[in-house]
């Protein structure tokens, strides 16, 4: 027996509300713990619960008193008269321990010793009136508040007590037997298959058993002869009078025979089976619905991912074009600064270059390149790094999530979660996050270059030396031979020769490095930019995950169902 089943598991059952059937989940989650509590409570308790139910004013309390043989429950013309349920049970009957409904307070009261006045019960309380009649010792007879009155709380209590019932006495009256609310309840009792007596109380002389039976059959409820009784209207002191009535005596005889101590084990076993089956079915339904929700949630996540991806792609597309040029320039400067110490001919080359260019200076046509420090460049890049595209992308993602992924029902839990205040990244959060990523990027760059600067292998070093000598010589001759002549045209410097003149052997040699770093840098930069969008997506994912039933709980439910199937 999974008696140790923690009650917390019920609270863990959640669903995002993506399927139309989600509202059933809410209902089952309300109902199932109660059923389970009743199931556990009834286990091993040798007590038959008989519950009287019926509409207001049908005379439940009168019949209750007549069955119990005492004036226990107050009767009267005020409607509703019975305010809270009253149980008539033997003083040794195990009613009170572990009573399954937390919302119902149980108070016991002895019927002996004092001539107790009839009780109306108290709203929300279960009043136990203890007796010592051995013939009724195996029964707990309950008078319930009405099913159909203005008092909404009453109905919930009746529902709870009905779960506890092993047998039901359905009380109706001449006026009420065709009323919709009580009749639907009767239909349910019949459907559940519990032992059920139908008493039509307060009948006028003209109403015969056959009329009533025909009318019930017409509505789809058929009752056996001994389970349907018509009791006449008794204007004064009905409880006493009723006990002398032939019809009532007949009913009571059948009632006591059906619910005799000897038949109790059978009835209890049957009811237990029924409860087990009902529990199992409801659990099965719940699990199925939850799994359906899970499937929907997975599909939802897929759709979210697709949305996220399209926004990411768009952002990257915009960024890639502009980033490439900037970062390449920057990296070139970095690499040049780094490797120029291996470029032995750099200085003489510069010198020659300067001499050659001096006539241009005289002519006023000198253009000068800027040299920037690493920090400056980083700062410049950062300053240029415009947060606008990222913020716009986040905004677009948020909008499309609400537009395409929100359930249309405002009561669905996911609908509310998607709109709660903390789920959207604010501009400040985005900024902080991007700065953070940038900082990481800068650190990485520093590290990479430091590593490069430290650990150049000897072979490579010599390679650079030799290449730079060769290349330098080539450039030197090139610059001496035609340099003066062509640089004469300032425009040519810009357009044709500039790449050759300014790029040295080092760049050529470090091409591999440059390429690698550029690729990584681009990747990291992209990741940094996208991490904001990822974060936003993760928030949505978290949101829906907080609304799904955890795996552990699902397993527990499944285990519970198995144990019930075995029982």
């Amino acid at each position: 027996m999974p008696d140790n089943h923690s009650p917390l598991a019920w609270a863990n059952i959640r669903c995002p509300g993506l399927t139309p059937a989600a509202k059933h989940i809410q209902r089952i989650v309300q109902e199932l713990p109660r059923r389970w509590a009743v199931y556990a409570y009834k286990h091993g308790r040798e007590l038959l619960w008989v519950v009287l139910v019926g509409g207001t004013g049908t005379g439940k309390s009168t019949i209750f008193n007549a069955i119990c043989g005492q004036g226990l429950s107050a009767t009267g013309v005020e409607r509703p008269k019975t305010l809270g349920p009253i149980v008539c049970a033997h003083r040794q009957a195990p009613v009170q321990d572990d009573f399954p409904f937390e919302s119902v307070a149980v108070r016991s009261h002895s019927a002996e010793g004092e001539i107790s006045s009839p009780r109306p019960g108290a709203p929300g309380d279960l009043l136990i009136i203890e007796h010592s009649r051995e013939d009724l010792a195996h029964l707990a007879i309950v008078d319930t508040p009405d099913l159909d009155s203005l008092e909404v709380r009453n109905r919930a209590i009746v529902e709870d007590l009905y779960l506890l019932a092993d047998a039901v006495v359905f009380v109706t009256s001449q006026e009420k037997y065709a009323d919709e609310v009580p009749f639907q309840f009767l239909q349910r009792i019949r459907l559940d298959g519990k032992i059920c007596f139908v008493l039509l109380n307060k009948a006028e002389k003209v109403l015969r058993w056959e009329d009533l039976n025909a009318s019930l059959v017409e509505q789809g409820v058929s009752m056996a002869r001994d389970f349907l009784w018509v009791l006449p209207y008794i204007p004064a002191n009905p409880s006493e009078q009723l006990r002398r009535q032939e019809e009532f005596k007949g009913f009571l005889a059948v009632f006591l025979a059906q619910l005799a101590r000897e038949t109790m084990p059978q009835v209890l076993a049957l009811e237990r089976q029924r409860r087990t089956r009902a529990l199992r079915e409801q659990l099965g339904e719940l699990i199925e619905l939850l799994e359906h929700e899970h499937g929907e949630a997975r599909a939802w996540l897929g759709r979210l991912e697709a949305l996220h991806k399209s926004v990411c792609d768009k952002l990257l597309d915009q960024q890639r074009k502009h980033f490439d040029q900037e970062s390449r320039d920057y990296l070139q400067a970095e690499v040049r600064a780094l490797f120029s110490k291996y470029d032995v001919l750099r200085k003489p080359r510069r010198f020659v270059f300067k001499i050659l260019l001096s006539p241009l200076k005289l002519l006023g046509l000198q253009t000068q390149g800027r040299q920037e420090s690493r920090r400056d460049v980083l700062l410049r890049i950062r300053k240029k790094l415009n947060l606008e595209p990222i913020m716009a992308a986040v905004e677009k993602l948020n909008r499309s999530v609400l537009e395409n992924l929100s359930p249309s029902d405002p009561n669905a839990p996911l609908y509310r979660t998607l709109r709660q205040s903390g789920i959207k990244l604010s501009d400040e959060e985005i900024r902080a996050r991007v700065w953070d990523e940038q900082e990481k990027l800068a650190v990485w760059l520093e590290d990479t270059f430091n590593q490069l600067a430290q650990g150049i292998p000897k072979s490579k070093e010599w390679g650079i030396y030799s290449t730079s000598v060769l290349w330098g010589a080539l450039i030197l001759s090139f610059e001496t031979a035609i340099g003066g002549g062509i640089t004469f045209l300032e425009a040519a410097l810009d357009s044709v020769l500039a790449p050759f003149v300014t790029k040295g052997a080092v760049e050529l040699f470090a091409y591999q490095e440059l390429h690698k770093i550029a690729r990584q840098l681009a990747k990291r930069y992209q990741e940094g930019v996208l991490s904001v969008l990822h974060e936003q997506r993760d928030r949505y994912v978290e949101g829906i995950q907080s609304l799904t039933t955890p795996k552990g709980t699902m397993d527990e439910l499944e285990a519970l169902r198995h144990s019930l199937a075995a029982a």
Partner: protein
């Protein structure tokens, strides 16, 4: 009766006008048509107020004795009573033999049967016995609901057993009729007395009536008129007990009413019905209020982010100005007029060279278009605005109509087209206004320099003696001597050296002046770009203003709508 017939008519026509202008947010087209049809029906009813019939309906749960009361009122068995439940499934209409049933009643989509009587005193009254509303038969409930619209006075019947049934009060709350036209009957009161001493019976009756009254008051019937009676006593020819209020009930129901009174009763009902119809506007008003909150927050945000807006615009424009425009500007701004002689030749040579290098078709001023990245950045900003307001509306769960409207106002594509046109026009106008500087000083320096160099060359070429003879003896002969000396020396080594020096000097000065020209051009371009930028940013900021203004206009439109709804609404809440 809170409102006159005139007021009601006014309300309805206003309501129809509101519906008719089509800018409702909350309702679909179908819902709107339904509402229109309903309001039309009420208008029609208002027209028919003077018809003079008073329709009284007997309403109650199954088994409370509606038919018995009907029979008791009619004084004969006209309605069958039975202990079988549920019983009556058709509407029974009891009317004077000389009066015809109103047409709309005859067309009622409910089975009905009419019974004629000859009592002249109640000839303007139609008494209707309705099916029960709490039984199993859903058909009965539907019949009652459909028939409700024909009723003017409602008699609610219950019994000592049923007076606390939730269904009764549910139905009571749901019926859109004026509460002052309600009567309540506690039938079968004799059951309370049966088998009891008289005092006990009275005590029970008073307790039941008190409870009943309390429940009614709790359910918003402020002054319920309750009759405790027993129709059975009347029908069974039993002696009528003193507590049986059937007599006064009958008098109340069958009292003679004049046309004015009947009209008032009917109008009161229509009033309640109309107010209920108008209550659909609550939702609309709520939605508009929520939308306005979103809009106002948005406008506030946008205004707050003005500096940010300008910065973004500046950044975007910089990309264009510093990138494309700075290069292009040398093509467009043709100040070649301020360069003279060799400088000018050099300029045109360089230009040709550049054109040849770049092989690009020369862009003309008319193609001055803001595109590429700048366009992208500006466009993105516009899109972001739309996304933001859409998100705001979506997160409030407002009907899509709002979003459509806002989107049409803030449509980034059309917005951008307009803005681009405005930016392009501003840039063009700015460009057209620039004039080449006169640069008289610069030009005279060039003339002087080149003249001086030429003079030097002429001096050197002709030689000292030729010039001296010319200066001593100015005249044609002197000039001829100088010329001949020039020609003579030109082909001598000295002459060639002088010519070479002359050319070199000219080239040198050409470059110097070209450099100066370029600097001038650069300065000009810088100034030009700066002023163009500020002009364009002005346009960009004006765009923001226009967006704010449009949103404010929309907000005002919503406000006006709110006010229009509010007028109807206020009337409703005058209760």
């Amino acid at each position: 009766m809170k409102h006159s017939v005139l007021e009601l008519r006014n309300d309805l026509t206003q309501f129809q006008a509101l519906l008719g202008d089509g800018s409702f947010f909350t309702f679909s087209a179908k819902e709107r048509d339904d509402l229109l049809a309903q309001s039309e029906k009420y208008l029609h009813k208002l027209d028919g107020l003077a018809e003079g019939f008073l329709t009284i309906g007997l309403l109650g749960g199954t088994g409370v004795g509606k038919s018995s009361i009907m029979n008791a009122l009619a004084g004969s068995e006209i309605s069958s009573t039975s202990h079988r439940r549920p019983h009556t499934n058709q509407v029974l209409i009891y009317h004077h033999e000389a009066s015809f049933l109103p047409a709309n009643l005859q067309q009622a989509a409910v089975p009905w049967r009419s019974i004629k009587h000859q009592a002249d005193s109640i000839r303007q009254i139609l008494l209707c016995d309705l099916p029960d509303f709490d039984s199993l038969s859903t058909l009965h409930r539907e019949h009652v609901n459909t028939f409700l619209e024909h009723l003017d006075v409602l008699v609610w019947i219950t019994s000592p057993e049923k007076y606390a049934d939730e269904r009764f009060y549910q139905f009571l709350r749901h019926v859109p009729k004026a509460k002052q036209n309600f009567y309540f009957v506690l039938n079968k009161a004799d059951l309370l007395f049966e088998g009891q001493p008289k005092e006990e019976g009275y005590d029970r009756l008073s307790r039941v009536t008190e409870n009943f009254q309390r429940y009614l008051i709790e359910n918003e019937v402020s002054h319920p008129l309750i009759y405790a009676l027993s129709a059975g006593q009347i029908l069974g020819n039993h002696p009528v007990a003193p507590w049986n209020q059937f007599g006064s009930f009958r008098r109340q129901i069958f009292q003679h009413r004049d046309v004015k009174e009947i009209m008032a009763i009917k109008a009161a009902n229509i009033d309640v019905e109309v107010q209920q119809l108008l209550s659909v506007l609550d939702k609309e008003a709520m939605n508009i209020a929520a939308a306005r909150q979103v809009l106002e927050k948005f406008i506030q945000d946008v205004q707050h982010g003005r500096a940010d807006w300008a910065a973004i615009g500046g950044q975007a424009l910089d990309v264009w100005l510093a990138g494309h425009l700075r290069k292009d500007i040398y093509f467009w701004t043709d100040f070649s007029g301020i360069l003279v002689g060799p400088g000018r030749v050099l300029l045109s040579l360089l230009r040709d060279w550049r054109r040849w290098i770049e092989k690009e078709p020369q862009r003309s001023v008319t193609q001055l278009l803001i595109e590429g990245r700048t366009a992208e950045m500006l466009q993105r900003r516009l899109e972001r605005l739309q996304d933001r307001v859409a998100h705001g509306l979506l997160s409030r769960g407002l009907p899509p109509m709002f979003q459509q409207q806002v989107e049409s106002i803030l449509d980034p594509a059309s917005q951008w087209d307009e803005l681009k046109e405005r930016l392009d026009r501003a840039a063009e106008m700015w460009l057209a206004r620039t004039r080449a500087p006169a640069a008289v000083g610069f030009r005279s320096i060039q003339y002087l320099t080149y003249g001086f160099v030429l003079l030097l060359m002429l001096l050197a070429l002709a030689g000292e003696s030729a010039w001296r003879s010319f200066l001593e003896n100015p005249g044609w002969s002197g000039l001829v001597i100088v010329l001949s000396a020039l020609v003579q020396h030109l082909f001598s080594p000295v002459g060639l050296a002088a010519l070479g020096s002359y050319i070199l000097l000219n080239v040198f000065f050409a470059f110097r002046f070209y450099a100066r020209y370029k600097k001038l051009l650069q300065r000009h371009a810088q100034k030009f770009i700066e002023s163009l930028k500020s002009e364009l940013i002005r346009v960009w900021e004006a765009e923001l203003d226009s967006i704010i203004e449009q949103m404010q206009d929309y907000d005002r439109e919503l406000e006006a709508r709110m006010a229009a709804i509010g007028v109807l609404h206020e009337r409703k809440s005058e209760d």
